[in-house]
């Protein structure tokens, strides 16, 4: 039986003993993992010059476009982000109320609402709707929730043909690959690779001309749109006050998938609500600017129910499937702010680690800084121990986030949680404790300085004042760069001399 509102925790403002720690979160793999070994993947991708070049020409450029646009285009970009963050925080604090309001309004508008507690239930619901409506061909616009559930596999296994209509997602589907970015699925692919995939799929001679490839997809998709029975979409924002859903795309496939077919099923993470219609412009102003450095997506569709009596266009049936899949547990935890996320991908574009390793390295469908937090939250920290640690804590993600999720602070908290799941070697804890003791007394600190200086100037292998080989756990440093030797005199020694000389 699908979850009802009765099963949602009374988590508005949960504190103290109600709080759920990362170690208590569900062990089941709520997200599909296609690459469990982060370090091995990072070893390869961090040396992939072609991947880095692809990122330079796309997401790095979008980062600076975003930065410029927010500074020049809006009277108070930072203030707007704070407002968006507060609206989301408020919504999460009263999520039970807003979900009830949203459901009532969708039904009032002639739609249907279903609650899915996990991926399996969500897939069953969508397959059921397809069977009940005699839908043989489903067209999909982008839905990250459907990637969570691997919906396409479930539909195809039930004998229902399913076609992705976002060009990037279509290429991913046809190539049997995985998306590597929240918003730009094929940022890891070159035109040549796409050409090879399309040549095989469409059974045509190879070309890597992007215009020709796009036209091939367009002609193919046009025919699919014309004959499809059901459209499946994601939801960028659900408006509780009106029971509307909002879909933003640059390609217009969001509109095509949701207007021409008899049935429209929208998959929505339960956290994607905003309270009122008048709150929507706050998010529309920030979404495309953050994701793409452009003021608005080409198409922003606001859908408030199925075709009504007297209307020409629109599906006859409109369904919203609201997904939990672990979100309610995250809501009750110290990491509830991650549920503010509007899946813009700005943090990916900002991140120096993402820029160098790419989305596939993170191993599941949510990469980058937000993925480093939510993948362990969905699947269990012990399965993804490297994700919260592979950060330089540079803070660019926090600067990027349109809803002000303090990702660095939560990464630090999650690193602390690693101890609770036994992923911190005993000697590391010992090193940090001893180190702290050494810093508590001036005498121990100065002695430590002198020992370090002696070792680095006289014991370790060095050249021209630079250590070229550090021992033990520090050896990683000198594998790839030199380490400066401490000068003969420390600052405190020079200060003392300076004082003596001036007296």
């Amino acid at each position: 039986m699908p979850t009802t509102l009765d099963n949602l925790p009374p988590s508005a403002g949960a504190t103290g003993s109600d709080k759920v720690h990362a170690a208590d979160l569900p062990r089941g793999m709520a997200l599909p993992v296609f690459n469990p070994d982060f370090k091995a993947a990072a070893h390869l991708s961090s040396a992939d010059d072609l991947l880095h070049a692809a990122h330079e020409n796309s997401i790095v450029k979008k980062w600076y476009d975003r930065r410029n646009l927010l500074a020049t285009d809006l009277p108070d970009g930072d203030g707007l982000r704070a407002l968006a963050g507060n609206i989301k925080a408020h919504t999460l604090d009263h999520l039970d109320y807003y979900l009830e309001q949203f459901e009532a309004n969708v039904i009032k508008n002639g739609g249907h609402v279903h609650f899915a507690s996990n991926a399996e239930e969500a897939n069953q619901l969508v397959v059921q709707i397809a069977k009940q409506t005699n839908s043989k061909l489903v067209v999909k616009s982008k839905s990250m929730v459907s990637e969570e559930t691997e919906l396409n596999h479930a539909l195809i296994a039930a004998g229902i043909e399913t076609v992705e209509t976002d060009l990037g997602e279509l290429i991913v589907q046809v190539a049997n690959d995985h998306p590597s970015h929240l918003v730009y699925p094929i940022i890891h692919m070159r035109a040549k690779q796409i050409g090879e995939v399309f040549a095989k799929f469409f059974k045509v001679p190879f070309t890597d001309d992007p215009q020709v490839l796009a036209e091939m997809a367009r002609v193919y998709l046009r025919e699919r749109f014309n004959t499809a029975d059901m459209g499946v979409s994601g939801v960028n924002f659900g408006v509780a006050e009106t029971g509307s859903i909002v879909i933003c795309t640059n390609e217009g496939n969001g509109r095509m998938c949701t207007s021409r077919m008899r049935v429209h099923v929208a998959l929505m993470g339960m956290e994607k609500l905003i309270p009122r219609f008048q709150d929507l412009p706050v998010f529309l102003k920030l979404l495309a600017r953050s994701a793409a450095g452009q003021p608005l997506t080409q198409y922003s569709n606001i859908i408030t129910g199925p075709k009504r009596a007297g209307e020409f266009d629109g599906p006859e049936e409109f369904h919203v499937v609201i997904m939990d899949n672990g979100r309610s547990r995250i809501l009750a935890s110290d990491y509830r702010d991650t549920l503010r996320c509007i899946r813009c991908g700005a943090c990916l574009n900002a991140c120096p680690i993402y820029r160098k390793v790419g989305g596939h390295t993170y191993g599941s469908i949510y990469p980058g800084p937000i993925g480093a937090l939510i993948t362990p939250l969905f699947n269990g920290l012990e399965h993804h121990e490297h994700l919260p640690q592979a950060t330089s804590l540079c803070g660019a993600c926090y600067e990027a986030c349109p809803v002000k999720i303090n990702i660095p602070e939560m990464l630090i908290a999650m690193k602390g949680d690693l101890k609770l799941v036994g992923k911190v070697p005993w000697y590391e804890k010992w090193v940090f404790r001893m180190w702290t003791i050494g810093l508590k007394s001036k005498f121990a600190y100065v002695l430590g300085q002198k020992m370090q200086r002696f070792a680095m100037r006289h014991l370790f292998k060095s050249k021209d004042g630079w250590v070229t080989k550090l021992p033990g756990p520090a050896k990683g440093w000198t594998e790839v760069r030199d380490f400066p030797q401490p000068p003969k005199k420390s600052f405190r020694e020079l200060w003392k001399e300076r004082r003596q000389n001036s007296v």
């Binding site: 990072a42 160098k356 330089s392 630090i412 810093l439 508590k440 990683g476 594998e479 405190r492 200060w495």
Partner: protein, 247 residues
């Protein structure tokens, strides 16, 4: 104006000349500088690695050491950000410590921030001993101070004999990140190599790097792979200009 210098554990051992330069700069702009020599470390490595208890121990010590200071100034953006961003978290709702902690937070500044916001230092008339092309790396923790690249770049643009050249991807991390550099060596190496490549492309003599960790990381990569530029702290350039004026 009485200023206590917070030289930082890395600065004390690895870049004492930056500490001396910081003192020179502050004195030039009218400050009386002291150095409470009981200081050790702000606790940033402990905090960043998920040891808040240990970080808290060191934070309490820092607050005590600087109890009588009017202003606390550090050449390190990351240590200043540790105090300003994370000490309020460490001492939140602590009836015994919160007031002292917030007082310490309110009087702690990074050098460029202090020069710009508090001293409103006028660097007219200061010039480097000889002409130099200079570029600027935006150290990540400057974000935590709610500063962008403008204050430092304005100083560089107004400094005599310094020609400012913008750095491509100036706000991209250098790849240090403390233990990140030794735990995730591959990724850290790719990031720092990118920084050195961008630096070389400016043909600058000096890259301004206002944080000891970044300077050690970038400097170490420059030495290993070869670079046309040298990382230096802005304090060192200003101190050189001050010395130049006095001769």
């Amino acid at each position: 104006m009485n200023v206590s210098l917070f030289v930082t554990c890395l600065g004390d051992l690895f870049s004492p000349d930056v500490g001396i330069a910081t003192v020179k700069v502050l004195e030039h702009f009218g400050c009386t500088v002291d150095f409470p020599d009981d200081q050790t470390c702000c606790g940033q490595p402990q905090y960043n690695n998920g040891y808040p208890g240990e970080a808290r121990t060191l934070a309490e010590r820092m607050i005590r050491v600087f109890k009588n200071s009017q202003y606390v100034v550090t050449p390190s953006g990351s240590c200043c950000a540790m105090v300003r961003e994370h000490y309020p978290v460490l001492f939140k709702d602590d009836k015994q410590w919160e007031n002292d902690a917030l007082e310490f937070v309110a009087k702690t500044y990074e050098l460029v921030e202090f020069l710009t916001k508090v001293l409103k230092a006028d660097i007219t008339g200061l010039a480097l001993p000889k002409p130099m092309a200079v570029t600027y790396h935006f150290t990540c923790h400057t974000r935590g101070l709610h500063m962008n690249e403008s204050p430092a770049i304005n100083i560089l643009k107004n400094l005599g004999n310094a020609t400012f050249v913008p750095l491509d991807k100036f706000d991209q991390c250098c790849g240090f990140g403390g233990t990140f550099a030794i735990k995730y060596t591959d990724i850290s190496a790719a990031i720092v190599k990118d920084k050195v490549t961008c630096g070389n492309a400016t043909h600058a003599d000096v890259m301004i790097v206002n944080d000891a960790g970044c300077a050690m990381n970038i400097g170490g990569a420059c030495h290993r792979y070869g670079a046309q530029f040298k990382p230096q702290h802005l304090a060192q350039l200003l101190a050189a200009a001050i010395d130049n004026k006095q001769h």
